[in-house]
Symmetry: D2
Subunit: 351 residues, 4 copies
Amino acid sequence: MKTLRGFGSDNNAGVHPEIMAAIVKANIGHVPGYGEDDYTREAIAVFRRCFGEETEVFFVFGGTGANTLSLRAAAQPHHAVICAKTAHINVDECGAPEKFSGCKLLDFAAPDGKLTVELIRPALHGVGDIHQVQPRVISISQPTELGTLYTIEEIEEIAAFAHHNHMILHMDGARICNAAAALDAPLRAITRDAGVDILSFGGAKNGLMYGEAVVIFDRHLAQDFEFIRKQGAQLASKMRFIAVQFTALLSGDLWLRNARNANRMASLLAERVSALPGMQLTQPVQANAVFASIPPKVIPALLQEYFFYPTENPGEVRWMASYDTKEEDIERFVETLARLLDQELAKGPAR
Amino acid sequence: MKTLRGFGSDNNAGVHPEIMAAIVKANIGHVPGYGEDDYTREAIAVFRRCFGEETEVFFVFGGTGANTLSLRAAAQPHHAVICAKTAHINVDECGAPEKFSGCKLLDFAAPDGKLTVELIRPALHGVGDIHQVQPRVISISQPTELGTLYTIEEIEEIAAFAHHNHMILHMDGARICNAAAALDAPLRAITRDAGVDILSFGGAKNGLMYGEAVVIFDRHLAQDFEFIRKQGAQLASKMRFIAVQFTALLSGDLWLRNARNANRMASLLAERVSALPGMQLTQPVQANAVFASIPPKVIPALLQEYFFYPTENPGEVRWMASYDTKEEDIERFVETLARLLDQELAKGPAR
Amino acid sequence: MKTLRGFGSDNNAGVHPEIMAAIVKANIGHVPGYGEDDYTREAIAVFRRCFGEETEVFFVFGGTGANTLSLRAAAQPHHAVICAKTAHINVDECGAPEKFSGCKLLDFAAPDGKLTVELIRPALHGVGDIHQVQPRVISISQPTELGTLYTIEEIEEIAAFAHHNHMILHMDGARICNAAAALDAPLRAITRDAGVDILSFGGAKNGLMYGEAVVIFDRHLAQDFEFIRKQGAQLASKMRFIAVQFTALLSGDLWLRNARNANRMASLLAERVSALPGMQLTQPVQANAVFASIPPKVIPALLQEYFFYPTENPGEVRWMASYDTKEEDIERFVETLARLLDQELAKGPAR
Amino acid sequence: MKTLRGFGSDNNAGVHPEIMAAIVKANIGHVPGYGEDDYTREAIAVFRRCFGEETEVFFVFGGTGANTLSLRAAAQPHHAVICAKTAHINVDECGAPEKFSGCKLLDFAAPDGKLTVELIRPALHGVGDIHQVQPRVISISQPTELGTLYTIEEIEEIAAFAHHNHMILHMDGARICNAAAALDAPLRAITRDAGVDILSFGGAKNGLMYGEAVVIFDRHLAQDFEFIRKQGAQLASKMRFIAVQFTALLSGDLWLRNARNANRMASLLAERVSALPGMQLTQPVQANAVFASIPPKVIPALLQEYFFYPTENPGEVRWMASYDTKEEDIERFVETLARLLDQELAKGPAR
């Protein structure tokens, strides 16, 4: 097995040892399934300590499930979900949100992946027009899929706009811990307290094996969620093994340590690669993603040694740092990259 | 935490130590996500050794996901799925099959949970009538939700009927290993070779932490399955941790050891409880489930000590043996039950 | 064109002359589309005079549309709709209700097509169980698809049960006028006043060209109905031509005259055919349908001369009288039938 | 009733007298429902004379129904439909296409409402990527919602691109007759012969009361269409009354006379209004739509006298000519407009 630590995605990493230890420890005897067990109750309590007692928490299998169920809970099929063109729900979930919620996504181009009130205001044009889907949810990703961050004030502004117009604010927090670490703010401050109504809380990209949580602050949205989760095929039978991972992540500071490391490593990677000839960052590095332009011919050679995703923009690549990225991983990667760039540049410009 | 081994469900058990060891062992370095890794390739190869090289295998998170995606792959929304009234897809998946496939389920009452050609033939009445959904899939559970088994000949007969009428045979094999063990037949003999076209292969009820497999024998059904899985929110990012569990289960005889133990323990439990006063088996015990009638007043007291599910028939209960059930667990359970029955019977009949 | 008046269905008839006259009269100049015109406002006012001022009315294209949208407005995809096995929504709409509402239908066998509280009470078993769809709507057809009628008291009893259990009562009134005529009761008395929350009001089977109305008494269900109608592709652009048909039908007594004729002709037909040798009524004739058993070999010969539907019970047929059925039509039909029965009986019993 | 002929929409007009005469004439006796009648067979034959014998034709109630069912027949839920941002399916059907087909719409901005191969080529980027919906249908409107026309060559080019990439070309022909009239080409030449696979053939905007046709040239798409139509609640019971309208429209040259008049009147209207002070055409007038910019303050005053739709661009309006528009209607309208412009301009510029 080839298991070199690279920068393909933060979900290419394995499971943090403390998470794995929690899983192993919970593997004892029988407990009821489907979340009717004490491990799950404990994990929910941990979330409530973090986000407030009024919080409702539902564990699901994965991130697409968390997003899709959130939208289904918040919107009817004649509603619309406002999102950025680059949003994961818009481009990376194979239409799961539309299929399961029945809603239309209204996407808005944002160069840095961040919605603004200014940008999305035109979506109000069709409100009340029976021929048009009715805007009901604004979904933002924090950090965005381009590695950028909303400030708390920016979230608050969107939340105020949403609520003023009877809409719900959903946050895709697949990497929410990286955002909190980068903003140096408590998880609650950048979500519930900033006006978020329903949050997809990511686990797998911050050291978990599997499992995400739908965290609901507007309790109306939680009313039928148990049924929605089951109907969405996201109810785990052996729920304890998801629950204990979240307890391990959130009861202490593991979530923060992991996220900080990933963010710091991304900064370092950005610093190192942007110093190389022919390389240029294409997005500010605010969390754990590095977007960069690269001589296109280098990409295939680099892919031979490291798995990663070119973006749909020719000559642009995405590299993600992870909770387990080490400085030595960056050194090795940068060396390889430098070598390939050298070889390419030696050939001189294409004629 | 209360972790007494009981008979609530085979998914109340934890993870078999060999499975857990495989998970821990795979937790090394980085590998690509979403099944593009060597662990997943290996697991698929193991399935193919078991079911034939032409087999397509897709890992998903859970059993409802496996069933729901299978039906979606096999049927269009104007099609119907024929199943038993007691089928898991009909009564225990909160409408997930209908929601995701768009299909209608045509259910047929069967006292032992087993469909027969005779029973379902009336479903052909509406074929070609544009006002009616068109039968397209027959879904059988092996073993059934009532703990009974189809013989290979019975499966073959249904398969022949299905194929003669241009239908597809789906098998819900949430406990398929228990069926193979009970029939003393290879997994392939009771599925592919008996005419099954698409199989939900269960893992969690036979010692896995999470993960099921959709195993496709009719390759047409596999054509777009990767997209269907993603759109159904059943594509795991860290796929390796599902894959290695199946490799551990199927590459040796762990699947069989686990299933045999569960079946044997169910037989023993059935033998012991049916000897108690006031107790009577209500279904033949052919795999790892025991259905029994019990003086209704004993149920609440027993539930104080053991978690289990009463059925919707008053005075009937379901008990499941598991891969990790031990004889001592049965002794303890039977002692408790005997004590409660004594207490109840001492009160004399209700007037 | 072969246009002999027969008994195939009340929708085989054409358009009542008064309805046609109203259509022709409305064909003048331009008016806004999609119901924003005075003709539509007038028709809604006519409905409100009939059913009460608080009534919300939405015109749609057809009966399947009316039923499907009603269920969608009343239920979420994790809900269930309780209905009779013979309900039109269950067997004659090609899964449209499931497809559009996402709901599961829970059907109950009723020999006369009528639900009772006793019959449907078991549907409450799964309330609150997250693995099961949650009963939310009871749908009854008045008259039933078997030509039988609910008394007002029977409707009230079902309504009370529905409301006590937080459910909504939907009535499929494809032939609601026939029911009111047969019960000699105002339309309001057998719907709103009896506890119905949402009604599919049929037009095409009582002399209209096309068009049905969803009539909503529980205003919560009307909240988003305009969007649901549009999304369900049931919003007519030239709405005035549906509206004026309903105005013509309901502003005077045309609805009653038409329905009474159909009912009376069904009675007469039943009387006449049941007097023939080998014929026997299989359902009480309470509205405009006649169900009868007939020597099976006569069916093909009769179908040569008259279009009609055999039921799925061998040797049973359904004949419908219409608003335009005349006594002479019955004479001619009965003569034909008598002749064919004679011929068949002359052959003696099959050996 | 206010029935002044204006320019709000071509569906604000009533029914052409020849169409109405055909309806009235068909109102005789009984015929089987749901299209099993000779009137429907005749109408289908008329379509086949027009489009070729291999054509499959399915009548539906309305345009949203025709589009929605077409997409459902052509695509699976994990597929995508490529369309212009201004497409009716994208902005004016309240999400019906997504809801019924389950597909995602990928919309592309086109200033004149016309797709080009260049514009949509980026949609191929995600082909084969399991995280992304797979492009399967290209849907173009002819004429477009902005009143512009594709040339035959332009359609051919898109069709070639579609077929080369295993996609299907759908044409929303709500005003297809206007397009054929404007291009002075047979209906077949701008559809089937240009590479269109499935066509929504509009009736209501060219003089029909109600009814559209789904015309299928790629017979694979027709295979299950009868069931799809029924499940989509678009199957009319008294089908003859849709059928005879199309027979009246297409068996002679009524379709062409109607369309030519509408197109000619739009040209005249455009010529007249563009000569007024402060008015400017914003799209070329190629069929029966006129888009113009107008001093915004005039809009409310004009709306007092004439119903029409402002577009979502401030100060832009859409006016549609109809089959029954007369020169005198234009004179009256232009007089009114001129008067209001005068009044507004007399006030001088806002300060």
